[in-house]
């Protein structure tokens, strides 16, 4: 059955943003805390450490446990399986055992009949600690040899030799802060015991299999005894890739031991202080250019602040290296990265996964060169953009490159020269208001850098009434996955969208799944859905041909449920033919499987072809700084983004806008503040600010670079989840440039985010 002509080419399907949205606007979508509570349900509250490092001398919770309504208080010794939740490296206990390593580390679990009783118990628990030294700075940790994993080094060419041939060589240091995910739905899970010593867990997780594995390990049972079900998340952004597992394990442990339903939902302040964030980085760079401003050599050393346990930091570290040269061709590169162990909550995945941190340093280096040489950064950026045939520091050869085409398309619409002139004229006129602009090209590799994870499965059922159920391993968290999966199935079968329902993500239906992350969810799961649909079609086509006496060589396919033979509509339709197929005992279910071809990476040589393809783009950002108050406004962000042949522009534009604004937040107002004792000061929405409706750019204009090149993206529609976040880095440089327009002698350092405080101090500082 060919799928040449289907409704997915028509407009309505492309602007279809998902089956969930009708429920979202009516408040009918169900999140974990909305699941109807079962009788006898217990509330699970975490008792966490108030110090960042120390020995637990005594734990006294007898009084708390005796309170009316308190059922049991769990400590490490009550764990029936292994007290271990570390995903990549087994270095993190579920409940502290003897020692604590960060403020907010779970020590005990209170299981109570009411939230009030749990709360009261919390205040009755007494712990004595013997404090140990606290490290919050990654460089200090590095100096003391505290590393979470072995350091990594990517090398291309010979930087030492290359620097000798450079006309200009500059060195500098940068700092980039972390970022709180602030998914609106906090971490949480709901679990209840089922037959055969098993548990069913509803978790707000991006990684259902990770939750299943962790719960099985903590409880000491088989993965087949743990069923994890995820309907949707109220936001994830990486924060629920690994870190959801702990709270699911807690709910599951209580349910398993006490044989009662149990719910563990963090309140906002618990979530903020207990969970890890985007990894802060401190970095040193050295950059060398020839007199034409071609970058010849780049050395960078990253000190990643990993927090108290590895979590996903080793993998994040790797992606920082992959993206350390951003969108530029640099023939000689030496990029080193250290994952440093500090006494902060274990930092974790966050949209971009270390990539943005690496790219920030590259952009700082270029900006620094530009300022020293008295040119604008865009001159250097444009000169060094990647082209087909160039080599990344990790050995992959650049192909189907769109770095220059995105930049040039943007420049065609807005003349950078003209903007420069306008801004200079404005700044001359206005003493206390200054404008600034920046360009931000991006290049982001698509695939899990851990090759093993680049596989997916899907289960497709065609029911005897012609309706279709699709299950995948992907989790819907607002990124429009379900809409895309429906589009894929509708296109493959040639049926209307209303026939298709995307089921919850369930580990008993689709197993051994990779987390919904790395922007690859739609690619991987979509291809698995395609595979499953194809298998069913392969059984249907011969059957239909036989049933309707159609010639073997005739082409048949469905369009909007109607059967076409050799391009001509028939009176037969999907529903009717499926009913007959069932009677004739055709297998109407299939399990699809997909493993990304081509990709490989050898960690011993740090070379390979880790990415299925790359996504490119360029953003222009213009801002205005009030030089009296040190505040700023973002005027415009104009983006040309390499979307491939977007299968759903509405969803993809939404991802671009949302990612951009999240990136801007990271670079401007979002400031994670810990004190020297490792205590989080920005511990609530009142002290940690993410963009509100007034702080987003007055104008965001996103244009897709539409390409039809062959690639491994689902329906040639390139992955879009993470890359747009990095356009936000442009805001940092635009604001910084405006500060410099007011005060060319400022001592402002390369330290993101550029908060109003940094702006004002920068405006009135002297070198």
């Amino acid at each position: 059955m060919s799928t040449k002509k289907t409704i997915s080419d028509s407009k309505d399907i492309k602007s279809f943003t998902g089956p969930d949205f009708y429920n979202h606007v009516a408040g009918k979508s169900i999140y974990v805390d909305d699941i109807p509570a079962m009788e006898g349900m217990l509330f699970v509250k975490v008792f966490d450490s108030v110090i960042a490092h120390g020995k637990i001398l005594s734990l006294d919770y007898t009084a708390a446990e005796q309170l009316e309504g308190v059922v049991k208080i769990f400590s490490a010794k009550d764990i029936t399986g292994e007290n271990q939740i570390g995903g990549i490296i087994p270095d993190e206990p579920l409940l502290a055992d003897g020692e604590v390593h960060f403020c907010g580390q779970p020590v005990l679990l209170i299981a109570a009949e009411t939230e009030d009783a749990a709360e009261e118990a919390y205040h009755k628990i007494k712990v004595e600690y013997d404090p140990l030294p606290v490290i919050t700075n990654p460089r200090e940790a590095f100096a003391k040899g505290k590393l979470l994993t072995s350091s990594r080094k990517f090398q291309l060419g010979d930087t030492t030799a290359a620097f000798k041939n450079c006309t200009y060589v500059f060195e500098g240091t940068t700092e980039v802060n972390g970022q709180e995910h602030l998914y609106l739905e906090t971490q949480g899970a709901y679990a209840y015991p089922t037959e055969h010593n098993s548990v069913r867990v509803y978790s707000s997780t991006q990684g259902p299999t990770q939750v299943q594995k962790t719960v099985a390990r903590v409880l000491g049972i088989g993965m087949n005894q743990v069923e994890v079900d995820v309907a949707r998340l109220g936001g994830g952004f990486g924060g629920k890739e690994d870190q959801a597992s702990a709270y699911a394990a807690m709910a599951a442990l209580v349910a398993y031991v006490l044989k009662k339903p149990a719910k563990c939902i963090l309140n906002r302040m618990e979530d903020m202080r207990m969970t890890g964030k985007r990894n802060p980085y401190s970095s040193d760079f050295k950059i060398g250019l020839d007199k034409e401003l071609k970058i010849l050599a780049y050395e960078v050393t990253h000190y990643q602040n990993g927090g108290a346990a590895a979590d996903l930091s080793p993998a994040i570290l790797e992606r920082t290296l992959f993206h350390s040269t951003n969108s530029y061709n640099i023939p000689n590169v030496l990029a080193t990265a250290h994952s440093c162990k500090t006494n902060l909550p274990p930092n974790t995945a966050f949209r971009g996964f270390g990539g943005p941190q690496g790219m920030y340093v590259m952009e700082c280096a270029i900006d620094y060169v530009a300022k020293q040489l008295g040119v604008t950064a865009d001159i250097i950026q444009r000169k060094n953009l990647l082209k087909d045939g160039d080599e990344f520091s990790y050995g992959q050869i650049v192909s189907a490159c769109e770095a220059e085409s995105c930049w040039d398309k943007l420049e065609k619409e807005v003349s950078i020269e003209k903007i420069k002139e306008e801004i200079n004229a404005f700044n001359k006129e206005n003493k206390l208001i200054k404008k600034g602009y920046s360009l931000m090209p991006i290049c982001f590799g698509i695939s899990f850098t851990n090759t093993m994870l680049n596989q997916a499965r899907a289960l497709v059922h065609v029911y005897l009434d012609g309706s279709i159920g699709v299950s995948t391993g992907g989790v819907e968290m607002g990124q429009g996955l379900n809409a895309k999966m429906m589009q894929v199935a509708a296109k493959e079968f040639g049926v209307s969208l209303i026939r298709i329902k995307v089921e919850s993500t369930n580990t008993s239906r689709v197993v051994n799944t990779s987390p919904s992350a790395a922007s690859s969810t739609a690619d991987l799961n979509g291809k698995a859905v395609q595979d499953a649909c194809k298998q069913i079609q392969e059984r249907l086509v011969p059957f239909i041909k036989q049933e309707l006496s159609i010639g073997i060589n005739d082409t048949i396919y469905f369009v909007q449920d109607i059967l076409y033979v050799n391009g001509i509509a028939t009176t037969h339709n999907w529903k009717q033919l499926i009913a007959i197929a069932y009677v004739k005992r055709i297998n109407l279910s299939a399990k699809g499987h997909y493993a990304t071809p081509v990709i490989n990476f050898d960690k011993t040589t740090e070379k390979g072809h880790p990415f299925a393809y790359h996504v490119y783009g360029t953003a222009l950002t213009k801002v205005t700084v009030d030089c009296l108050r040190g505040t700023y406004e973002l005027d415009t962000v104009k983006i040309v983004h390499d979307a491939g042949a977007s299968m759903n522009p509405a969803v993809d534009i939404g991802q671009c806008e949302g990612g951009l604004v999240q990136g801007i937040g990271w670079m401007t107002m979002e400031e994670v503040v810990y004190n020297e004792n490792g205590k989080l000061l920005s511990n609530a929405l009142s002290t940690y600010k993410i963009p509100d409706i007034y702080s987003v750019p007055n104008e965001i204009d996103i244009e897709f670079l539409k390409t039809e090149k062959d690639n491994l993206a689902i329906l040639k529609s390139k992955a879009v989840g993470e890359p747009p976040l990095m356009y936000g880095i442009g805001a940092y440089f635009a604001i910084r440039n405006a500060v410099l327009a007011f005060n060319p002698n400022t001592n402002i350092t390369y330290h993101a985010p550029i908060t109003p405080e940094k702006v004002l101090m920068g405006l009135y500082s002297k070198k």
């Binding site: 606007v25 009516a26 609106l184 739905e185 952004f237 108050r629 949302g658």
Partner: protein, 467 residues
């Protein structure tokens, strides 16, 4: 016993008067559309509409149910998303879908409720009003651009709305269900007892926007004294040259008052910097005073108007004399603020309010400041009032600086001296809102912004003064 209407249902409940509306609708009535995002008024996921009588007219406002104590719903109409749902999507819901204004959906109900409040508010009509209605709703997914488009669609739609008694039109156009037509009559049947303190142990509560953030466990268990709905505390009047304001006037009512708008034409520009629409709908001015946060915006504002506070005991003091130390007030536990008053600024005075925070809107100030200066024809300062927050343990009236300025001309030299005096009057500390060095610099800048508003060029001063 608290009696009110929840959506289309008449409720009589004995739930504790200090428990929150959020817990009541979500966990008691299991209306799960209303979400919990923060429980501190800062995200808007829990937004509901509250209908009550203002000047004998039923008016709906959006409020954050996580902070609203149950005592404040007596005799009112509480509307959750379940209360506006109909067999088909409402135009607000449809607009959110048509513009892709939802992704993960967790914030969406809050936006839908706030925008529904916008279309129901007969005084709102512009796109700016629509955005203002959702300025307390945070979304982490969309980047807001799509939601702005939804707001635009809706502000265009309501151009056809009648200017008064719009309920009929709103029902006809499916913004709200049929049952809304009878709500007014049904509400009038519910008694509206004025609560009286029956023991000294009751907890006086205004909008609850401070109490329920800081002490919600205490509030939940306490017997509360509802000041918010006490009609004798809700007025703004002008008596000759004096403005008198009831203690329970909200920030929203303050900015909407034509009396205030006449005296302070920029009032809405200032209040836009204070919290968000749903919070301003709840936050009372007296609550801001008594909370005594060092950055209390309305306190800083009123200090520069040299406001007076009148207690129910009859005692009257200047606001600047209310503060004795960090959260220490010249007020007994039993004393309640009855009224706030200030003298009409003398004609020719210029008032200015400044606030800088990490995020310009819906954020607590790093430093805020207000200033009221009256210059005579020769440019000599006849009277000066100056206040600053975030630079000391309580909202500070800068007595020395104000005294110094009085009788002087605003020359560069005088301004510089004033800045020096001011810096000696304050004692900022470093915290999550900024280092003390930043706060000192910012205070100087905000003072210069006041001076700039007098029409004085300040650029040269900036070059001369080093940070």
């Amino acid at each position: 016993m608290i009696e009110f209407i929840l959506n289309n249902q008449h409720i009589k409940t004995t739930q504790p008067s200090g428990s929150t509306v959020l817990d009541f609708v979500r966990y008691h009535k299991r209306l799960m559309g209303t979400k919990v995002g923060c429980r501190e008024g800062d995200c808007g996921a829990c937004t509901v509409l509250v209908g009550s009588f203002e000047n004998n007219k039923l008016v709906y406002r959006n409020m954050t149910s996580c902070l609203m104590p149950l005592t404040n719903v007596q005799g009112k109409h509480i509307v959750t998303v379940e209360g506006i749902n109909q067999s088909e999507l409402t135009p607000v819901q449809q607009a959110m879908i048509d513009t892709n204004g939802t992704q993960c959906g967790f914030c969406t109900i809050g936006f839908v409720m706030s925008l529904t409040g916008f279309v129901m508010n007969e005084t709102c009509c512009s796109y700016t009003d629509a955005i203002k209605a959702i300025d307390g709703n945070i979304c982490r997914c969309t980047g807001y651009k799509s939601i702005e488009k939804a707001a635009n669609i809706l502000s265009n739609k309501i151009t056809e709305r009648p200017t008064s008694n719009a309920t009929e039109w709103l029902v006809e156009n499916k913004f709200i269900p049929e049952y809304f037509k009878n709500i007014e009559d049904r509400l009038r049947l519910i008694p509206n007892p004025v609560s009286q303190p029956n023991s000294s142990d009751v907890l006086p509560i205004g909008g609850g926007t401070d109490l329920n953030v800081q002490k919600h466990h205490l509030v939940k268990k306490s017997e509360t004294l509802n000041l918010f709905d006490n009609p004798s505390l809700k007025y703004i009047t002008q008596v000759t040259d004096e403005i008198k304001i009831g203690a329970s006037v909200t920030v929203a009512a303050f900015e909407e008052s034509t009396i205030i708008q006449n005296i302070l034409p920029d009032i809405k520009k200032y209040t836009k910097l204070i919290s968000s629409s749903p919070i301003r709908n709840m936050a009372t001015i007296a609550g801001n005073f008594v909370n005594a946060s060092p950055i209390g915006d309305m306190t800083i504002f009123m200090l520069a108007l040299n406001a007076k506070v009148v207690f129910n005991s009859g005692r009257e003091i200047y606001l600047k004399d209310l503060y004795k130390g960090y959260k220490q007030l010249d007020k007994t536990k039993e004393e309640l603020i009855q009224e706030i008053s200030f003298k009409l600024p003398i004609t020719g005075s210029v008032f200015n309010f400044e606030k800088v925070s990490k995020r310009t809107h819906l954020d607590i100030a790093s430093v805020n400041s207000a200033c009221l200066l009256k210059l005579n024809n020769e440019g000599i300062i006849e009277s000066a009032h100056l206040s600053a927050g975030g630079v000391g343990p309580y909202p500070t009236y800068l007595t020395k600086t104000a005294t110094f300025l009085t009788g002087k001309k605003l020359t560069d030299d005088v301004i510089e001296q004033a800045i020096n005096i001011m810096q000696n009057e304050v004692s900022p500390i470093s915290d999550a809102r900024g280092t003390k060095e930043y706060k000192r610099l910012l205070l100087r800048q905000l003072f210069l912004a006041h001076i700039q508003k007098q029409g004085v060029e300040v650029f040269n001063l900036l070059n001369d003064i080093s940070a």
